[in-house]
């Protein structure tokens, strides 16, 4: 197995990111790849398909999420568990674009989203789930009964790229996440063609991490980059 390429800067790690690509973005507060997202924003990528838990407001130029790209008209489609605020008073640019028919959107129950990504990284094309039965989410989907209960057919998700936020990494690309920063990271790392990882701690030599402690094996990782000292490490407020 060829080890991942280790880049010196975030900008170099995303330099060849192609317009029109699909991108999985992990994060649930912690575990968001803020540094790679900011680098991609400046790289200029456009015409994106984003897959993330929420589409984000995109109002902070430092903490870049899908919302920053959406506000600039650089996203053609979003797949997420939150595409609109649950408070009518706070409306994002993305919500306005979706309502105006200018941005294609698919809203997915969060567990279905996670399982579609897991399936995508596991060689499983689809699965049945009870989530969404009897709701708008079931419209147009196959319903099948197992043991007297109805389930929806949901299909796997993969992506051209994912940006991952890891706590520790070795030069083989083995990754360890910290606490709830894990969230979507392990499953997205498995579901993308090119997995690019920003790492909080210095990247260590092969053999220094205990194999029993690895959350994401290096076979899923193509690129690594250490977050620079002046990068975004800790976000002290919910986003």
């Amino acid at each position: 197995m060829k080890p991942p390429i280790i880049y010196d800067t975030m900008a170099e790690a995303v330099d060849d990111f192609a317009d029109g690509s699909s991108l999985m973005i992990p994060g649930f507060g912690p575990g968001t790849p803020w540094n790679l997202m900011r680098a991609l924003y400046h790289q200029g990528a456009t015409d994106l398909i984003t897959i993330s838990n929420g589409i984000g407001f995109g109002t902070d130029p430092e903490l870049v999420n899908a919302g920053n790209f959406i506000s600039d008209g650089r996203v053609k489609e979003v797949i997420a568990a939150f595409t609109a605020s649950t408070h009518p008073s706070s409306v994002s640019a993305g919500e306005e674009l979706i309502r105006a028919g200018k941005l294609k959107a698919e809203i997915v129950p969060q567990g279905t989203l996670a399982e579609r990504i897991r399936a995508g990284g596991s060689g499983i094309p689809g699965f049945y789930t009870p989530a969404g039965i009897g709701t708008q989410v079931a419209e147009g989907k196959e319903v099948r009964s197992f043991n007297g209960r109805d389930y929806l057919l949901e299909t796997a998700l993969t992506a051209d790229y994912t940006f991952i936020r890891a706590w520790k990494a070795d030069k083989a690309g083995n990754l360890i996440y910290r606490r709830a920063a894990r969230n979507f990271n392990p499953i997205m790392a498995m579901a993308a063609t090119t997995t690019i990882v920003e790492v909080e701690q210095p990247i260590v030599e092969i053999g220094e991490l205990d194999p029993d402690h690895i959350h994401t094996p290096g076979v899923y990782v193509q690129r690594l980059v250490k977050i620079p000292e002046d990068g975004t490490f800790v976000v002290r407020r919910p986003v």
Partner: protein, 228 residues
């Protein structure tokens, strides 16, 4: 009941009432808003495990100012503490726990609850499917948790009932999901196609509740004032 001043519950008091309705040893999921406040009112001897959608199994109270671990958050992205014995899993494993029926109760916020136990909490307008909404984990939880409690204000800001005969907004789950509703003025059981009033806030009468509740409302023989 004697006439006293009407005292609707604060958000914290609603969370405390939710905590009173948890069983010993339960595995509990708390949704965003009033439900997440419930974590502050769970007594240790109850042996409750709090699990959140983002894969934190066994979290405790909200973290105090200056004591936050920025990598430890609940479903509302609030900083919480980890209890001894906590475990972390990734998002798909977190929903494996939910989907396989291992959550005893999920307490969620909502806009409306209907007499058949259906409820609405992911879309603020009655509109056809258009890709917009805030589902989060609510549909997975509603379909798979053993019970759903809803914590919400009893009426809209305009005074319209939120406990209704039929939801006007797109539902999160069809009939049979919600078993209990905790509002600022009442505790209402949902079963058998009707609401049953079990508790009232201090100073409120069954007539007060009936005036702001749509749909069949029975009165529990053990109706009593909440202890808050």
């Amino acid at each position: 009941m004697t006439t006293t001043e009407k005292r609707p519950l604060t958000r914290d008091q609603m969370a405390a009432v939710c905590a009173q309705h948890l069983g010993e040893g339960w595995n509990v999921n708390l949704g965003i808003g009033i439900p997440t406040l419930t974590s502050n009112f769970i007594r240790e001897e109850m042996q409750i495990t709090l699990s959140s959608e983002n894969g934190v199994i066994g979290y405790g109270v909200l973290a105090g100012e200056g004591e936050e671990d920025t990598d430890v958050v609940n479903a509302g992205v609030q900083y919480v503490t980890l209890n001894p014995g906590a475990a972390i899993v990734h998002h798909a494993d977190s929903f494996a726990l939910i989907r396989s029926g291992k959550i005893d109760v999920s307490i969620l916020g909502a806009y409306e609850v209907a007499i058949d136990g259906s409820f609405a909490n992911w879309k603020t307008r009655n509109e056809p499917s258009n890709g917009l909404g805030g589902i989060g984990g609510a549909m997975d939880l509603a379909a798979c948790a053993k019970q759903i409690y809803v914590a919400m204000q009893h009426t809209t800001r305009d005074g319209a009932p939120r406990l209704v005969t039929e939801c006007s907004l797109p539902v999160t789950a069809p009939a049979g999901a919600v078993t209990l509703v905790v509002t600022d003025i009442a505790v209402v059981r949902v079963a058998g196609g009707e609401f049953t009033l079990e508790q009232v806030a201090p100073g409120y009468t069954e007539d007060d509740i009936r005036q702001v509740t749509e749909g069949k409302l029975s009165i529990s023989p053990s109706l009593h004032e909440m202890s808050v």
